[in-house]
């Protein structure tokens, strides 16, 4: 795809980072602060009000358990929601300048991931400082996993951003769908606490694999390999390729519908 040598892409990424995160001086602070506050809210609600149970055999506290999965999810979800809007939002650019339109959603997803990866590292440091043992070798090993998550978000966004040009309702449907996805992913709870019948369904959720692998790596320093680990590095690029084909198939007609 030759994305990184393309200066349109880097221009778009830096443009989105600047408009979305660095508009003001406190922008970057809020990037860390907002999820931290959100984390505090979830921690309070689910430890005190709902009394959430997590598999406690490894002696992990609820907050680190939540935080390690919550950040990548936030990046993933925000990237998809923001990225889906990019083609419609940049109607003026699409209609006037000839350039590969897929760079719009891809750059937005990438900008979101770049910023949230920074936030993720900051949170891991905060966790380490507050007494949680972080496996830093596991964090290094988690980078390919985050890379895969980024590609996965890119793939989905290529579909949704193109679709939103034709079916504007995508903008309304997507947020509740992402919320549904959030709650069907074991971020706030652990799968081992679910009834057997439900657990089988959850295994089909790709995000289940992402978050449990992340926890294994970062909090436990383990990597139990399974057939999914071999399949994912093939399936995600394949999905990305399909997404690109889908996007380009309709890109020439965007202007008619914008």
């Amino acid at each position: 795809m030759n994305l990184f040598s393309n200066s349109i892409f880097t221009q778009l990424v830096s443009r989105s980072i600047r408009t979305d995160y660095l508009e003001n001086l406190t922008g970057f602070a809020w990037l860390i602060l907002q999820p931290l506050l959100l984390l505090a809210v979830y921690a309070f609600v689910f430890t005190n009000i709902f009394q959430a149970r997590i598999p406690n055999d490894a002696g992990i506290g609820f907050v680190p358990y939540l935080a390690v999965a919550f950040w990548p999810w936030t990046a993933f979800s925000e990237a998809i929601l923001k990225g889906s809007n990019t083609v419609v939002a940049n109607a003026a650019l699409i209609g006037k300048v000839a350039f590969p339109g897929e760079l719009l959603p891809l750059s937005m997803v990438s900008a979101t991931f770049v910023m949230h990866t920074a936030g993720y590292l900051a949170v891991l440091i905060v966790l380490q400082a507050s007494g949680t043992y972080i496996h830093w070798l596991g964090v290094a090993l988690a980078l390919p996993l985050l890379l895969l998550l980024w590609l996965f978000a890119c793939a989905i966004t290529l579909f949704t951003s193109a679709l939103q040009v034709f079916v504007r309702d995508v903008a309304q449907i997507l947020p509740p769908l992402m919320t549904f996805w959030f709650f069907t992913t074991p971020i706030l709870y652990g799968t081992s606490l679910l009834p057997e019948s439900l657990r089988a369904w959850l295994d089909w959720n790709p995000m289940t694999w992402f978050v449990s692998r992340l926890r294994d790596l970062v909090l436990l320093g383990q990597y139990p390999l399974s057939w999914v680990d071999l399949l994912a590095p093939v399936l995600v690029p394949a999905l990305l390729w399909l997404g690109l084909k889908f996007f380009r198939r309709f890109a020439g007609h965007f202007e008619d519908f914008l």
């Binding site: 221009q11 650019l93 006037k96 300048v97 000839a98 350039f99 079916v167 008619d256």
Partner: protein, 409 residues
């Protein structure tokens, strides 16, 4: 023979109707099924053109004729509904004021963005940044957000980046008109040297002067179709003539038609040219009612002759008046037989023939109408009027109606 840089083959563009949600869905469903969405506006129909390297090509036409859409198809911003487009060169397009500019960002940031869209690497951009800023010449404003710019400043910056991107084809859509006089001159100078270096230009403009000055060939788009394509003077002149005729028609609709009930009337009126070379030009008989629909064509400087037979119920010779005007009705010259003390040739007791010849008139190329009027014998009352079209052909970039004798010293 070198291959064409730009080849447009039978291109049509329909915009599907997508205002209501179900229309969007239906159009989208058609796209998914691999069909073109039905209905909607036909913006371009069956356009073909070829542009060779080093050529300059103008596209003219009324508002809404499809010029901008054609440029969008050419630059690849939209795909045609039918037909094919191939462009085999590095293109820089200036389709709209500040396209790709983000108003919140400074001019400098936008230059970087625009440069990347035009395919400049950051190394190339850094090398050429001084040239860009010098060309745009907007001073310290370049560090201000673009939203504080005047439209002229936006164009300056946009054109400066385009100029720096060193394209092989420049495609512009009536954006230069926004700049002030000196900037327009700067742009035109740049375009001329750009063409001189053997590059190719494709421009849309409503300024026939600019099109004639910069382009060799032109395409006249009318309601999405190619009405005429060819040598620039030919195309622009017929376009202007068409405009004049149209406004003349509007004028005629407003004014009361001159009455035909006068006693003295025109029996026949014939317009013919005779080339200065002595070769007779086609003479168009005009006794029919539809006479006004045909036109006599002359080269510039050729003689114009007119014959008019007038009917007089009382046998006294009526006064004849001949006039030449632009097709929109602006008079150029008129003279009557009374003033010149010219007598008619009596054909029979009631009919008189007048003949007039305008020797090598200085009329500039364009569309004219030649009128004949019948007046009463006293030369006071206008009784009847008829009109024929005349088209003067030729290449000229002079202004006005007539060529005045002049010399440069």
């Amino acid at each position: 023979m070198r291959p064409a840089l730009v080849r447009v083959d039978g291109v049509s563009k329909y915009y599907p109707r997508v205002h209501r949600p179900w229309e969007r869905l239906r159009a989208f469903a058609a796209l998914v099924a691999g069909r073109e969405p039905q209905g909607g506006a036909r913006v371009l129909q069956d356009i073909s053109l070829e542009i060779m390297p080093g050529e300059s090509f103008g596209i003219i036409g009324e508002n809404g004729a499809g010029k901008s859409t054609l440029l969008k198809v050419l630059t690849g911003v939209i795909s045609p509904s039918r037909g094919s487009v191939s462009v085999n060169a590095r293109v820089a397009a200036l389709l709209e004021l500040g396209a790709g500019f983000q108003p919140e960002f400074s001019g400098m940031d936008n230059v970087r963005m625009k440069a990347s869209l035009l395919g400049l690497s950051s190394k190339q951009l850094n090398q050429r940044m001084d040239d860009i800023l010098a060309f745009a010449d907007i001073g310290e404003y370049v560090h201000e957000p673009v939203k504080h710019y005047s439209s002229g400043m936006v164009v300056r910056l946009g054109f400066a980046v385009v100029a720096a991107s060193d394209p092989e084809i420049l495609i512009t859509d009536e954006v230069l008109a926004v700049g002030d006089e000196s900037f327009q001159k700067k742009c035109i100078n740049w375009i001329e040297s750009f063409l001189h270096r053997g590059n190719t230009l494709l421009m849309v403009s409503h300024s026939m002067y600019l099109v004639q000055k910069l382009c060799q060939r032109a395409l006249w788009l009318h309601e999405g179709r190619a009405r005429q394509q060819g040598e620039v003077f030919e195309v622009t002149q017929s376009y202007l003539a068409w405009h004049e005729l149209r406004s003349a028609k509007e004028k005629l609709g407003r004014e009361a038609q001159p009455g035909n009930g006068g006693m003295y009337r025109i029996d026949s009126f014939t317009l013919h040219g005779q080339g200065s070379t002595g070769v007779a030009q086609p003479v168009i008989d005009t006794s029919g009612e539809a006479g006004g629909k045909v036109e006599v064509r002359l080269g510039m400087g050729e003689d114009i002759g007119a014959d008019m037979v007038l009917y007089s119920p009382d046998g006294r010779p009526p006064v004849a008046l001949f006039g030449i005007g632009r097709a929109d009705g602006t008079p150029v010259y008129g003279v009557d037989s009374d003033f010149d003390r010219a007598g008619p040739l009596q054909i029979d007791p009631h009919r008189f023939r007048y003949r007039i010849r305008f020797n090598a008139p200085a009329l500039l190329p364009g569309s004219y109408s030649v009128r004949g009027h019948a007046m009463d014998p006293e030369g006071l009352r206008l009784c009847d009027t008829t009109e024929r079209r005349l088209r003067v052909m030729g290449d000229s970039r002079e202004w006005g109606f007539v060529r005045l004798p002049h010399d440069w010293s």
